[in-house]
């Protein structure tokens, strides 16, 4: 199967909550609706980590809920593991969900008892339950805390237990909704490494990762889609998305004797002096060539110590997209 997850023109809107007064005084006036998804197309390849990137309220969680059969789409079609999400009994055995809500366990029960409960719900065969739980606890490095109450777990441990739960029935597809949101930097890094090395690398899972953390997306995703106000604005590899909207290349120079105006026709993006050396970022837009820039700088008496290409940043690409969105909104 080339694609593990596919969405075709998915649309979803939610009714705004009405007050009791509104319901009584205007019973036949339909409630105002908020559009969460507006024709989303999505194609996630089998075995890849696909990022769903977007600001809060972009529709990421709604999309994850549709793909995990928790919410039905108003229009359009979603296919997970080759099955339409409307046939949930066929889809659910193939998916595991990890969401950001660290409360999603029974606090008075131990980690093991929690997993035991969910294992029965996830149709793990009775004789396999204990060995499967042992295996998963070891994999997420929680064996030492298996008998401890969930309420005593740290945020990192809670999130690792959530990953173990999603893996109980060994689904080929994992849907992760901001899994590192409530974690400290060290726990986030550890979970990201686990996702990349263990879940994708060793177990070969297909992972849809909804996040607004650009670093996370950059570190983990093979491809990503940027979702803004319920529409997919950009899809591609991290490199492609980074370069999106950039019609210029940039180079970083380390030079001595830098002065304003010596770059000639080239636009200087930034320039700062550190330990007697200037670090300048210069844009080579249009037909601008590196040779011409270096010639101009050296002709002005500068000594060039280093020169390298500036790789566009995902954060900048995202910011560009957001600026464009607000400009559209203003227009």
């Amino acid at each position: 199967m080339e694609y593990a997850i596919e969405g075709f023109r998915l649309e979803k809107s939610f009714a705004k909550k009405r007050s009791l007064k509104e319901i009584v005084t205007k019973p036949f006036v339909p409630a105002e609706r908020i559009e969460a998804l507006r024709g989303v197309d999505l194609h996630v390849r089998t075995g890849e980590i696909f990022g769903l990137l977007g600001p809060n309220g972009a529709g990421k969680t709604t999309l994850v809920k549709i793909l995990s059969c928790l919410v039905l789409p108003d229009r359009g079609r979603a296919v997970v593991g080759g099955e339409d999400v409307r046939r949930e009994n066929r889809v659910k055995p193939n998916i595991g969900l990890v969401h950001s809500d660290e409360r999603s366990f029974y606090w008075r029960l131990s980690g093991r008892d929690n997993l035991r409960f969910f294992a029965r719900l996830y149709d793990v065969p009775g004789p396999r339950i204990e060995s499967r739980i042992d295996e998963l606890l070891e994999r997420v490095e929680l064996s030492h805390a298996a008998g401890q109450r969930f309420s005593g777990y740290s945020s990192g441990m809670k999130q690792r237990l959530a990953v173990a739960r999603a893996l109980l029935h060994d689904p080929p597809i994992l849907l992760m909704d901001e899994p590192t949101r409530s974690l400290d930097p060290a726990s986030s890094l550890s979970l990201r490494e686990f996702i990349r090395d263990e879940l994708k690398g060793r177990l070969g899972k297909t992972i849809l990762l909804a996040t607004h953390n650009l670093r996370e997306a950059e570190m983990l995703c093979d491809r990503l889609a940027i979702l803004v106000k319920g529409t997919v604005r950009q899809v591609g590899t991290v490199g492609e998305v980074r370069r999106w909207g950039m019609d210029e290349r940039q180079v970083r120079l380390e030079v001595s004797n830098w002065r304003d105006g010596i770059a000639g026709p080239f636009r200087v993006v930034s320039a700062e002096k550190l330990d007697g050396i200037h670090r300048a970022v210069v844009a080579l837009d249009g037909d601008g060539r590196l040779n011409d820039l270096l010639a101009a700088v050296m002709a002005a008496g500068c000594v060039v110590h280093a020169c390298d290409r500036v790789e566009p940043d995902l954060e900048e690409a995202f910011a560009r997209l957001m600026r464009e969105e607000s400009a559209k909104g203003a227009a």
Binding site: K12, F14, A15, T62, K65, S68, C69, L70, V71, L72, D74, N89, K92, P93, I95, G96, L97, H99, D101, R103, S104, F105, Y106, W107, R108, L109, D113, R116, F117, F118, R120, L121, Y122, D123, G126, R165, H169
Partner: protein, 268 residues
Amino acid sequence: MKRFFTKIWAFLYRDLLTDLSYRFAFVLQLFGMVFAVAVFYFASRMIDPKTAGLDGIEPFPWILVGIAFQLYFATALYSFSEKVRSEQVLGTLEAMLVSPTPTSMVIFSSAAWDFTWGALRLVVYLLAAVFLFGVKLHVTSPLALMLGIVLTLLSSAGIGLLSASFILYFKRGDPVNFILTMGTTFFGNVIFPAKVLPASVRGVSAWLPMTWSLKVVRGSLLQGADLSALQGEILRLAVLTAVLVPLGLFASRIAIQKAKREGSLVQY
């Protein structure tokens, strides 16, 4: 079927472990039940045993059985919706609903412990009545008693599912539960016989499963009535159950579908 019982057991074991983790509260609840029986005993001594509608049964066991079953009914009425609500608050509902277990089974099984606890409370009430207050039980037909209990459980579950569906559909439930609980308490022969009510409203009681449940249980438990003597009441209860259970299941299916369309099932 094995899958069904495995799931029910998972929920029962989970809730048993949770309740046992609050040991003091657990013991207090048991003590509270015995204390409640004592209150009913002394309160019932004010009632004239010749009151119309008691059918020759002593007021204390008559009221005890009525209140015990009414509490059971209230459990059925509230537990489905309250469990869904509490799982929403805990954040565990999504994790359950994304599992291959059907949504209706998740909702149904969530209340399994409450039903079991309700049954245990019934037993404690009866044991306390027998051993502490000398109530004599006359069970000549265990089958009639069993039928009465099973049909009560099913009809209550049917009404409970209807109530939970109403809450899921309209996201407002308290008035419905309140009306059903009060209506059953008032018209269902729970604390006083419907015969003492004005004739104009007395007919309402015939439409309530509680009326027939209590007739069957009081008859088989306290009067020594056999199956043939209670067959009319059992039949009426069975008919009401046969209507309420499919209706409850159908309503819950519609409500779950709507909640899924609106996304309200997983929102708190």
